[in-house]
């Protein structure tokens, strides 16, 4: 996880006060803090002039937003059509067993978040897993386990 550098005030200052900027602000806060805390959600609402109910519905509708802290490492297993055909499911299950969390969850020690994605656009290398910023192409259970063990 990168250290929080930008303050919430400086993120807010980058956007004009208009409800149109609600999603952009949520994205920036998510990127900077890894999640959107209730305090930040309220500050964003005040800034853009949107009711908290709207911000809440937006934050829970879109998948990129998390209202709970996410893990230090993000593991995204692609379950696009090609990855599905080539065994993506086995890979998610391997992660679930190894990390002890279900897809979409974060380990208790906040080290790992396991997610599935619907297509990373790297279908020629299916199945693909993304570990933080790195791609693991043509993945299998062994190469995935090896990659995960390097994180610990």
């Amino acid at each position: 996880m990168k250290k929080s550098q930008k303050t919430i005030e400086s993120i807010l200052a980058g956007y004009p006060r208009h409800p149109q900027n609600l999603i952009g602000l949520l994205q920036d806060v998510q990127a900077e803090y890894n999640y959107i805390s209730p305090e930040h959600l309220a500050l964003i609402c005040d800034h853009v002039g949107a009711p908290l109910t709207q911000a809440w519905s937006v934050a829970t509708f879109y998948k990129s937003f998390s209202l709970e802290p996410r893990g230090e490492h993000e593991i995204k297993v692609c379950l696009g059509t090609t990855c599905h055909l080539k065994g993506g499911n086995r890979l998610v299950e391997t992660c679930e067993r190894d990390l002890g969390v279900a897809r979409g969850q974060t380990t208790e020690d906040l080290r790992f978040t396991l997610d599935t994605v619907n297509c990373l656009g790297s279908c020629a290398l299916a199945p693909v897993v993304m570990v933080d910023e790195d791609y693991l192409g043509g993945a299998n259970i062994r190469s995935l386990k090896k990659r995960l063990s390097k994180l610990e």
Partner: protein
């Protein structure tokens, strides 16, 4: 860099750039497309830069290293093209770079082992390879050739000359007329005539003066499709130019490009391109001194498939939840902030500069009647050569899958092609005899027998032919399936996907998808009755009739086509309790072939249920009663001894 104040200044500037570069100057083009990037292309590019900088390379001029967009042949990544020799190296690893630099760049010799070879033939340049030979690159012409982060490189290749042409003498009416005559249809899936859309927006604005908006849809959500990503990352200016031309014709001052959150690199590339275009006066106030103001803003998606639907996308730009609304009114009548809005897919926008440049007639002659031009497909799945291909509309399915794709690898038999993602269908590769009662399915596009080609591999790939067989063009994903892929499982996969992505606003989609998936869940367990197939079909048709937006209305396509063409496979699940492809977990058993097993023990180590046993270096066995059929043993077995039955 001062702003260019006229078309004449732009052309002079371009000439300066072109004459400043010697065509014989050696260039190394490293593909940084999504496929190559996932194989470490960034490290290859870095290795080239370091090796070329080193003093050991004794050449007069040091080659230029360009990081380009997708060069297409993803399964052979990392791809490296060298000019002026035109050599094409495949599967380049960072370790190969010092040798390429020494041998090829330094001494001018070819490294045979890095050339693409197939069936004993070696190919020196990309153009000779069958994968590229049948393609016709128009939209992707500069993708893979130019440095997408450098406007100058794009200008050298001709960027913004169509905008200049439009500004220096074409009237709004003429531009719209040109687009209409060209026959361009929306590349996002629906295939709606683009010229008609533009004309409607213009008419609405004339009746109701005020702002009109331009939107580029780059929310490429279909799994298995990445052509929009390749365009945005490989030649961003062609999208900006297309939108600027549209804006000029329609009198728009503000444009938006909506890019899905999963494409951070596309977002970065587009933002940089916009910045560079503004600095040169190609976007912003008084573009090229023509008194035309237009600017573009990038909106990042936030991970919702439904936002690819135009009304949901517009809601998202306005900062709201991405829920579709009823059409009409269409966005061209009432779109962003209730003003007329023209929304086109980014691939559609990328077509516009080419049509303006070469003319409507030229474009209309490409492809076939009613489906003009070229289309980009991502050819993936169980196919030998996978990657991004651009072909003229109307090419046959076999032409794409066999001639370009090289067929199915190994001994497996080609089974089906899935087009159009979750909204499309599963088309069998070989013609299937269909019982006559199947022909009643007119609703989903099935026409009388006479319309169907004898072999599906002769099916022309164009908007209307695909609809005729129950599928759609969609954004252009083409996923090849072989005998080891189960159509019941694939149909169930798409329903899971769509059920998760349905926004839940309208009942038919929200509950209908859930109901459809429950049928398939049972089928995949070998449960259900023959009548359930009919019930599933009628539920699917109810969704098509009753859903609010395209997501729900097209959602049943994968299921309905799979039933139509592969009913025997459904019956195998339901009646015989078997999954012929060996996929559906409840209907298969794993066993170890004692003749091939070498007793290495890897399966024992990786079995989560500890249900494999055997002595070291002796054949192992699986306890079928305890096995959860996770497939881990098959995945790790180095000698392919694990069988599925």
């Amino acid at each position: 860099m001062a702003k260019l104040k006229s078309v004449v200044e732009l052309e002079a500037y371009r000439q300066d750039l072109q004459s400043g570069q010697d065509p014989h100057w050696p260039v190394v083009r490293v593909c940084l497309g999504p496929g190559c990037l996932a194989q470490g292309a960034d490290k290859v590019a870095r290795a080239f830069k370091t090796a070329i900088k080193s003093k050991r390379l004794k050449v007069e001029v040091k080659p230029l290293v360009k990081e380009t967009g997708c060069q297409g042949f993803c399964s052979q990544g990392t791809l490296v093209t060298l000019s002026p020799s035109n050599l094409f190296y495949v599967q380049v690893k960072p370790e190969d770079v010092p040798e390429i630099v020494d041998v090829t760049l330094g001494r001018g010799e070819v490294l045979e082992r890095l050339l693409y070879s197939d069936n004993g033939a070696r190919y020196r340049s990309a153009g000779e390879i069958p994968f590229y030979k049948r393609q016709q690159k128009i939209i992707l012409k500069n993708v893979g050739l130019i440095d997408p982060l450098d406007l100058h490189d794009a200008l050298r290749a001709g960027a913004y000359q169509s905008l200049a042409k439009a500004l220096s003498g074409m009237s709004a009416k003429e531009i719209i007329q040109t687009i209409t005559i060209s026959g361009l249809r929306g590349r996002g899936g629906g295939g709606f005539p683009t010229g008609y859309k533009w004309r409607r927006a213009l008419e609405t604005t004339q009746d109701n003066p005020g702002e009109v908006y331009i939107v580029g849809n780059g929310d490429e959500g279909d799994p298995g499709a990445f052509m929009d990503r390749a365009i945005m990352e490989g030649d961003p200016h062609t999208v900006l130019e297309g939108m600027a031309i549209g804006a000029y014709a329609l009198g728009a001052r503000q444009g938006y490009i909506y890019v899905r959150a999963e494409y951070p690199f596309a977002i970065r590339t587009l933002n940089l391109a916009i910045e560079q275009a503004r600095r040169l006066g190609l976007l912003g106030k008084n573009i090229l001194g023509a008194g035309f103001d237009f600017d573009i803003q990038i909106n990042r998606g936030a991970g919702a498939f439904v936002c690819g639907e135009e009304t949901a996308l517009l809601a998202s730009i306005e900062g709201r939840v991405g829920e579709p609304v009823m059409r009409p009114p269409f966005p061209v009548e009432r779109g962003l902030w209730d003003r007329p809005t023209v929304i086109n897919n980014v691939e559609t926008w990328a077509n516009v500069p080419h049509i303006i440049d070469k003319g409507a007639k030229w474009y209309a002659n490409l492809g076939v009647a009613n489906s003009t031009g070229t289309k980009i497909f991502s050819l993936v799945g169980k196919v030998k050569n996978s990657g991004l291909v651009e072909v003229p509309m109307g090419i046959t399915l076999g032409g794409i899958v066999e001639e370009i794709g090289g067929g199915v690898p190994g001994q497996d038999r080609f089974k089906a092609v899935q087009t159009g993602g979750p909204s499309g269908g599963i088309i069998p590769y070989e013609f299937k005899e269909m019982p006559t009662d199947e022909l009643k399915l007119d609703k989903v596009g099935l026409q009388p027998r006479g319309f169907l080609p004898v072999e599906f591999k002769d099916l022309p790939v164009d908007f209307d032919s695909l609809v005729r067989v129950g599928s759609i063009m969609g954004s252009g994903g083409m996923i090849v399936m072989d005998d080891h892929d189960c159509v019941v499982d694939v149909a169930r996969y798409f329903l899971r996907f769509l059920q998760e992505e349905s926004c839940g606003k309208c009942l038919p989609c929200r509950l209908g998808l859930k109901g459809m998936k429950e049928f398939l869940d049972r089928f995949s367990k070998g449960q259900g009755a023959r009548e359930d197939i009919d019930a599933l079909e009628s539920l699917g048709k109810a969704l098509m009739d009753g859903s609010l937006c395209g997501l729900g209305r097209t959602a049943p396509n994968p299921v309905l086509t799979s039933i139509r063409y592969f009913k025997d496979e459904y019956l195998a699940h339901i009646v015989d309790h078997k999954c012929p492809a060996g996929v559906c977990r409840d209907l298969i058993t794993y066993s170890i072939n004692p003749e091939t097993c070498n007793g290495c023990g890897l399966c024992v180590k990786n079995c989560p249920e500890a249900c494999i046993s055997g002595k070291k270096k002796k054949a192992h066995a699986i306890d079928a009663a305890a096995c959860i059929r996770c497939g881990a043993c098959q995945d790790v077995c180095p000698v392919d001894a694990v069988r599925v039955a």
